[in-house]
Assembly symmetry: C2
Homo-oligomer: 330 residues x 2
């Protein structure tokens, strides 16, 4: 990737989604060509509104944002995670409303359109439930060939879950869609809790964002105040997991993976206690996690460097060098 | 436990079962008062034969051995694991046949009898599928109060499974029975693959057994030759996991546990990809695994010392000091 590659982001913005979005905008390796939203941390329409507002604040109001599925394949949307992300999805931070609205097509339709516009090149980063991606696979069975690769924040391999003892929120919110996406014949990189819970942002990182002169960094720092509050019960201190931005950084090869075997992955779609689990075949653990023959899903268990400095450095470098940054909306 | 406590062993002998049996006979903290067998590594009748032969070789022919369930609660016995334990269950090693036969009662009946004989004192070590234990709970609903505690070798908490990506053999061989036993209101210690796969016996330990003058140690060393062969594909070298003897050692407090939170544990009894999984709620990982209020199942994730030296030392000390050792049967 010497030239920036075209990226499609599917998200449920969400505080860590906002960080992932900012990272993709900032990374010199990514050209963000479209965004879909799905219900997860907040409903799909609310996630689109947050995304549009962030894009305007960041100076990229022209990137198309498409609203995707409101409900998962089975059942109805549960109402989001206000205890984690706040009632408005971004920790109660008030952004200036964007002048733009979402595009007319659905998130799945936008993804299919972009896959045809960038055949063999488009990279997908999916950081919400996989409802839209599964819908796109049904709309366009060639999608698996048109898309270069897909990176998914989701699941728990050997780490505990965060919704149930063994399931993670993005997968648990639509296990049927996740099962379709992970069974499809394409190059998948799964970024599970195993690696997102062990690469955290601390209070000094948040202070660094707040001290930035860039309004997006300031807003992210404010949002993280809310997010850190949720994580006190999990980590015993004010800090946060870095689920979505880590997936984005792995997708753009901004951070290198250290342990990421290609193994068989099956999603539990039963109604039993393991519903929503990503059943990853990691029985090769004692041999150092060799790849399994024929498996196309790479499960990231470890990265090769500290993530927070890379994330903050990427944002800072972009804001310093950029000329297209919008004036703070006041 | 200053006085040796009465122990009931439920097993499917089995090479590592043979080690657990030898350990319980050797430990000054355990008084082995009865043994049940269940189909697992080998069928229940074959396991009883191996157990009787080992008891005679060790000089304890009077400990009652009862044959338990041949089939799991659902379906039929799958035929054992000859690729792991050999066709005869003990790596093809030929022991002199015992003069004794099994007792007339079933394993579950023997357990209930002994629980009444040692009320509040009897400790159970279950190192096979839990079919007999579940049957005993049905025979005698007071069993949970009569038994002081039960230690189970089984399951996989955060480690990969050994039968499927998430299930371990003892639980996977009878998930319905395991669900009953783990849902019962008694003090359970679960010794899962997390700790049995990380405490291994190496070739030098096996040589130590072979060099012993005691026929039981010699026989164990020979059996382990077969077992080590199976584990080459798992560990990349000739060595072996120490599933059953480690559970026995934890049960008698021969080794101390280092990380063993009391948490909710549910067995997956669906027909999905997680069938047979022990779903342990270890979401407290990032706080150092605190106990969960009301949970009575202790899940051992780490022990506080090296196991192999303790195991070999216990056998050696017993054989050296003992006067009741039988003459080698030639």
């Amino acid at each position: 990737m010497n030239q920036p590659a075209p990226f499609f982001l599917d998200c449920d913005t969400g505080i860590d989604d906002a960080l992932a979005l900012a990272y993709l905008l900032a990374s010199p390796r990514a050209d963000l060509v479209g965004i879909g939203t799905v219900s997860g941390n907040i409903d799909a329409a609310g996630g689109a509104r947050n995304t549009l507002d962030l894009l305007q604040l960041a100076g990229y109001p022209d990137i198309p944002v498409a609203i995707g599925a409101h409900d998962p394949q089975e059942g109805t949307f549960h109402g989001g995670a206000p205890h984690v992300h706040g009632d408005n999805g971004i920790g109660g931070v008030e952004l200036a409303p964007s002048d733009r609205g979402p595009v007319e097509v659905s998130a799945a339709e936008l993804l299919v359109q972009l896959a045809h516009r960038f055949p063999g090149e488009l990279r997908v980063v999916a950081i919400g439930p996989l409802t839209n991606i599964a819908e796109a696979l049904r709309l366009e069975p060639q999608l698996t060939e048109l898309v270069a690769e897909i990176t998914i924040m989701g699941g728990a391999a050997l780490a505990p879950g965060n919704i149930t003892p063994v399931s993670e929120a993005n997968i648990a919110n639509d296990p049927e869609a996740a099962a379709e996406v992970l069974a499809a014949d394409w190059n998948v990189t799964l970024v599970p809790l195993d690696v997102t819970m062990t690469n955290v942002l601390e209070e000094n990182h948040r202070q660094e964002l707040l001290a930035s002169e860039h309004p997006v960094s300031q807003a992210l720092g404010e949002m993280l105040g809310y997010y850190f509050g949720f994580y006190i019960d999990i980590f015993g201190r004010a800090c946060s997991a870095m689920h979505d931005p880590l997936a984005a950084a792995i997708a753009v090869r901004g951070v290198e993976v250290a342990t990421a075997p290609k193994v068989r992955v099956q999603v539990d779609t039963t109604t039993g206690p393991s519903r929503g689990q990503t059943v990853c075949d990691l029985r090769g653990q004692y041999l150092g996690f060799p790849d399994q023959r024929g498996a196309r899903c790479r499960v990231v268990l470890e990265i090769g460097e500290k993530f927070a400095p890379h994330l903050l450095g990427t944002l800072q470098a972009a804001w310093l060098s950029e000329e297209q940054v919008a004036e703070p909306v006041t």
